[in-house]
């Protein structure tokens, strides 16, 4: 096919890097793999679940599916804010589960090549960095890349403890 050559460099480019959806939390930038993102929704009615840690906001009706909502600010121990017009729910898939993450605002989609991703820093024993996948550099921006599977893992540990 004649057109194949023109596509090759593009394909190669995204093959050694990954695309991330970046979002804001407490004026910091975070990123998650774009392939994990199912959709982005405005805040809608959330039903609280009793006796849950504060970061579990509750459950939401996503076209007939009951989806748990995690407030990432609460999850990371950041100060609470009122939800506003920028607040969104990023619906992600983790394994066969669907989960919504409440974030301050979504920013953009970023291509990051592997050499621009650094490992999660070790910050001593009192900072849990296990849910970080690494830190991406893009120009002078630093973006914390989240490890979705670890975010769930933490919940499972909690479940085992309860």
């Amino acid at each position: 096919m004649p057109g194949a050559d023109t596509f090759t460099p593009e394909t190669e480019h995204s093959a050694d890097g990954s695309q991330f959806l970046t979002f804001e939390l407490w004026e910091e930038e975070f990123g998650i793999e774009i392939l994990r993102v199912q959709e982005i929704k405005g805040i809608s009615r959330i039903t609280p679940i009793p006796n849950m840690p504060s970061y579990i906001q509750g459950v939401m009706n996503l076209r007939g599916t009951v989806v748990p909502i995690v407030d990432l600010r609460a999850k990371f121990g950041m100060p609470e804010i009122e939800y506003n017009q920028f607040t969104v729910i990023i619906v992600v898939t983790i394994g066969d589960k669907v989960m919504g993450l409440v974030v301050d605002a979504v920013s953009d989609v970023l291509n990051v090549s592997d050499e621009n991703i650094e490992g999660a820093p070790e910050l001593g024993s009192d900072a849990d960095t296990s849910f970080m996948r690494g830190i991406a550099k893009s120009g002078d921006r630093l973006i914390t890349l989240l490890n979705m599977d670890r975010l769930v893992d933490i919940d499972q540990t909690l479940q085992a403890a309860s």
Binding site: R45, N51, N61
Partner: protein
């Protein structure tokens, strides 16, 4: 040609196990009515279907075994072999072996050890009788042109979709060839399109063959048992060609020795050569369960969607109704009811398993039991049927092992030597009941009581009614079997039975009368997908209480609620003292009514206890489509699941049994003050 056989294989296994089930059922019936030819036919047809399909799908172990089985059955069917108790026993064993072989082929479990042994017994039974037959089978088979031999012209034109059904015309032609001698074979290529237009997965060829065989038209028809309706199969008697022509035929297929033996035997019985009625359409369609559930879910959404439209209409048109929406809503609700009925299956298969177990146990324990079944056509949700099997089997084992006495003991007790075990299923008030009744010796209530006292479950001074003692058997850690037998008492007790049934949102009760017998009644919901719920308000939140558990609801007058020690609150309902559970406290919900005389008490009933839930208000009653939280989240204590209300928001369903375990909730400041 490469077809993905996976999906066909799966349905083959499913169908095969259904055939096995019908074989087993017919065999069990055959025991009491050994002369019923129709039963033998049923068994034979099932074996034949399994044999045919297993060869097609390359499950040879099954194919070979069924072949032996089929030969024997064929002779029984033709009346050459008597149906005896031993032969039925052997055939039942064969069903077990086949089951084992099938699961070996499907799941890779080890093949049953007694395959060879059972196969040998089958052949022995068949062979023994052969020698007693006056007819010289071998000679007939060799001559190939005995008096019974007929000549048929068979036209076989597979439909275009033939391969899509997982069928292979070559296999069928070969099978025909095995039935006798092919004298002439022509290929019809008229339907073959130009090469460029050939679809590799379509079938274009047809065959006309002249077959000399001792088989009847029916036997030949049976070869085509599995072809689809669009396939043309015509079998006409043709003139027998001269001997020379026959010998000139270059390709005489070597016929399997056992096969030709069979044919000879069946031909000697001279089955009437009437044209069999066209194989009736199967009136069922196999559907992947997951797809079915998805559809039921979607229809559930549709119901919610419609009620959202209804509410929106009302809010826009100031409370008026729309006839069109009302009609649409009715259609959708009917549709939902129908979709739910798709999941319903009869309990017959489970009952049959029970019949088999009773039969086997009787032999083992030397008891005489007449097993009666009624209402086996009663339908239940597939999930319920799948999960109720083990508890039922456990209970039937109990009945046979501990309930029914040995014939001697029965006679000594003035009862007929043969015991009765009855299983019946019936509908009542939106529930299905399965009742298991035996006329055995009943429970030894004194022994149960003593054991319970010994284990510290009840106090020695407690006065218990007989019914209360009966209920104790469901208590964990109380096995009443004086000795642990091979049959029951191996740790899986009635408490597990009860838990399994409760997991299915059902309940179980046991009534036993010493010397007269025991009756166990299991109540099950029709379906697990929908629940009748009472919608209650707690602060700004809305919860659903399963209506099944609700006894009544009322607003207590001030002062009716009494406080006992430990801050335990109770209310008297018609003389009965019922503890109060403050739902908002357990579920930790803010801004709720804390004064019972301003809120409402909903009395709910768990199997052994009643308690009152304090809620703010009742909103209404609604059928709720149950969504589990585990699918995207995890199990939450005190919550049975979630549902989506008419306005689109999620409401949680409280789990009555689970709530009890949440009590006592950790004390919270400021609430304990009266």
């Amino acid at each position: 040609m490469n077809i993905d056989m996976g999906q066909f294989l799966e349905s083959f296994f499913e169908e095969a196990s259904e055939h096995l089930e019908s074989m087993e059922a017919a065999l069990l019936q055959l025991e009491s009515t050994p002369d019923d030819g129709e039963l033998l036919n049923t068994i034979f047809r099932a074996a034949h279907s399994i044999k045919g399909a297993s060869s097609t799908f390359g499950v040879h172990a099954v194919g070979e075994f069924t072949h032996i089985l089929e030969s024997l059955l064929d002779r029984m069917r033709e009346g050459e072999l008597q149906v005896t108790a031993e032969s039925t026993e052997l055939l039942l064993k064969s069903v077990d072996v086949l089951e084992g072989l099938l699961s070996a082929a499907r799941d890779g479990t080890p093949e049953p050890e007694n395959v060879q042994e059972v196969a040998a017994s089958l052949q022995k039974l068949n062979g023994q009788e052969v020698s007693e037959q006056p007819g010289d089978a071998a000679a007939d088979a060799e001559s190939g042109q005995n008096a019974g031999a007929g000549c048929y012209e068979i036209e076989f034109k597979p439909s275009e979709n033939f391969f899509h059904f997982g069928l292979d015309p070559l296999l069928l032609v070969r099978e025909l060839a095995e039935q006798g001698t092919v004298l002439d074979l022509n290929v019809d290529t008229s339907a073959l399109p130009p090469l460029a237009q050939i679809e590799p997965e379509s079938s274009y060829l047809g065959w006309t063959l002249t077959l000399q065989t001792e088989s009847s038209v029916e036997d030949l028809q049976n070869v085509f048992m599995f072809v689809d309706d669009d396939t043309v199969v015509e079998i006409n008697a043709a003139e027998t060609p001269s001997e020379n022509e026959h010998e000139a035929e270059p390709e005489t297929p070597a016929s399997n020795e056992t096969d030709s033996q069979d044919q000879t035997q069946s031909s000697s019985a001279k089955a009437p050569k009437k044209a069999p009625a066209a194989a009736g359409h199967r009136e069922s369609v196999r559907v992947n369960g997951e797809r079915l559930d998805d559809m039921i879910n979607q229809i559930g959404e549709l119901v919610i969607g419609i009620s959202m439209v209804e509410q929106e209409w009302k809010s826009v048109h100031s409370g008026t109704e729309s006839a069109a929406i009302a009609q649409l809503s009715k259609i959708v609700r009917d549709l939902q009811e129908q979709s739910l009925s798709l999941r319903m299956v009869p309990v017959a298969a489970t009952f049959q398993k029970m019949a088999r177990i009773v039969r086997d146990l009787c032999g083992k324990l030397g008891k005489q039991i007449q097993f009666e079944v009624s209402g086996e056509e009663t339908e239940l949700d597939k999930t319920v049927v799948d999960q109720i099997g083990d508890p039922l089997i456990h209970m039937i084992r109990n009945s046979v092992d501990h309930g029914i006495e040995s014939p001697e003991d029965r006679v000594a007790a003035g009862k007929p030597a043969t015991g009765h075990v009855q299983v019946r299923a019936y509908h009542q008030g939106g529930n299905i009941y399965i009742e298991l009744k035996d006329d055995g010796k009943g429970m030894n209530l004194e022994a149960i009581r003593n054991k319970a006292v010994e284990r510290g479950i009840v106090h020695a001074d407690d006065k218990l009614t007989n019914q209360e003692i009966c209920d104790l058997v469901f208590h964990a850690g109380l096995s009443t079997a004086d000795k642990v037998t091979d049959v029951s008492g191996r740790g899986v007790g009635m408490d597990v039975v009860r838990r399994n049934i409760e997991d299915l949102k059902g309940s179980v009760t046991l009534v036993s009368e010493p010397g007269v017998g025991t009756t166990v009644t299991v109540r099950l919901p029709l379906t697990l997908a929908i629940l009748d719920g009472l919608i209650v308000r707690l602060g700004e939140e809305v919860y659903v209480v399963p209506l099944l558990s609700v006894v009544e609801s009322f607003r207590p007058r001030a002062g009716e609620v009494k406080r006992l020690a430990n801050n335990m609150e109770v209310v008297q309902v018609r003389g009965e003292v019922v503890p109060i559970m403050r739902l908002h406290r357990i579920l930790n919900i803010e801004n709720c009514e804390t004064d019972p005389s301003k809120g409402l008490l909903v009395i709910v009933e768990d199997h052994d206890s009643k308690f009152a839930l304090l809620v703010d208000d009742l909103i209404g009653q609604q059928q709720a489509v149950i969504k589990n939280l585990e699918s995207n989240f995890r199990k939450v204590a005190g919550i049975a699941g979630a549902t989506i209300l008419g306005d689109g928001r999620v409401a949680l369903i409280v789990d009555i049994v689970g709530l009890k375990h949440l009590e006592p909730a950790p004390p919270r400041e400021g609430i304990a003050v009266a």
